[in-house]
């Protein structure tokens, strides 16, 4: 199997493709213990590089609502206004993981700490990785988003209110 790197330069004729690096690439994050318990997510969680674009510090954040410890709001990150999904209290200069979700929309995931990034050994078949001597489970972002949608959007989408969601995703259209 040929490793597809980020470089576009043409390989030399005698170039031997390097083997794929072992393990999975991604980011390890830590969530405040109380929030993690309320939200039903692991305290130390794993986000694969397939959904993570990069990490950053939010210039400012605002919360629109909270459900089970997970807040939904807006974050200003590097001059862009993004949807904020926050675990626990999020203040200015909050560390955020910029993730792509659904149709490629980017959202800012605010956590207590971004612990590490890199390539980590896989453990089992359920997407867990090993970090130092701990098994870290992935954070199911799709599930988190679904819960938030259920808590904030679908509930408020009853007539006569106008819903911003696509018609197919509305209840009682």
């Amino acid at each position: 199997m040929t490793w597809v790197g980020a470089t576009s330069s043409k390989p030399a004729p005698d170039h031997v493709s390097e083997p794929p690096a072992p393990g999975s690439a991604g980011v390890i994050v830590r969530i405040d213990a109380r929030t993690a318990e309320a939200a039903g997510v692991p305290e130390t969680a794993w986000l694969p590089a397939t959904i993570v674009r990069r990490v950053a510090l939010a210039s400012s954040t605002t919360t629109l609502g909270t459900s089970s410890g997970i807040s939904l709001g807006l974050a200003l990150v590097e001059g862009r206004l993004l949807t904020l999904v926050g675990f626990g209290v999020t203040g200015p200069r909050a560390p955020v993981v910029l993730c792509t979700q659904g149709e490629g929309d980017m959202l800012a995931l605010a956590v207590e700490t971004i612990v590490a990034s890199g390539r980590f050994d896989d453990v089992g078949d359920e997407g867990a990785v090993r970090f130092i001597d701990k098994i870290v489970w992935p954070l199911d972002l799709a599930s988190v988003m679904a819960r938030l949608e259920a808590a904030f959007w679908i509930e408020d989408a009853t007539p006569p209110r106008l819903s911003l969601l696509p018609r197919s995703r509305q209840i009682n259209p």
């Binding site: 980020a6 690439a25 590089a49 510090l57 560390p95 890199g118 390539r119």
Partner: protein
Amino acid sequence: MTATRRRRWIDVIRRTAGAAASSVPAAGLDDADLWASREEAAKASGEGFRAAERLETTAARERVRAEVAADGAASLAARAEGIAVATRRVEEVFERLRMVALNAGLEGSRTQEGAGRALLLVSDEIRAHVDRGAEASRELVKAVDEVASDAVGLRDRVQEVRADAAEIATDAATTKAHAQDVGRALERLERQLRKATGFDPEVARAVSMAADHARGLLAALSTIQTSHVGSMALGALRPVLRPVARALGDLLGDLSVGGDDSSEGDEGRG
């Protein structure tokens, strides 16, 4: 000199001292005491006034020093606050650098094995240093915050000292004014005493002093007389006592004219 003659001298002196205490009209001695007391009161009042003046000066000086110290403490607190702000900026820079290292690590994990591994290693190294730097920075912020807090506390204490110094200065000024009042009252008392007793203060002082010395001499001679070496000691004192006895004899002569006394008959013998 025979023992009998010596004893007579002592008797003369004793009578003289007794006369100072009893033969001279009591009003005269009382007046002298009154004058002496007035003198003491005037002296004490003057000393009180000067002490209050010194206290006032010292309090004013301490107040100025306290003001300088308060300014210093306030300046220290402001500088500490400035350092805390700068250190927080450093902390923020470390945080941003940490993000850069994490992003480098993320990119390294996506890149080919060789280059990616190098990037990961660099990322890990930077992150480790950043973590240490951020920790040191946090400790520094904490220490600077403590210094700022202490400086504010110090400024408050110094302001209290300044307030105390101001209070002391006020009290000293009041004391000085009272001492001046006492001085004026004593001057009035002196005028009234002069009118009432007809004594000159100098004479009154001399009378009071003479009475005190006469009492002292009598007490000392009595002690010597009862001592087992009394005769020898009195013999040694003879050159001193003789003119005193003579003067007292003359004095007693004058006093006896004015009234009293039991010693009258002895004078001629003295």
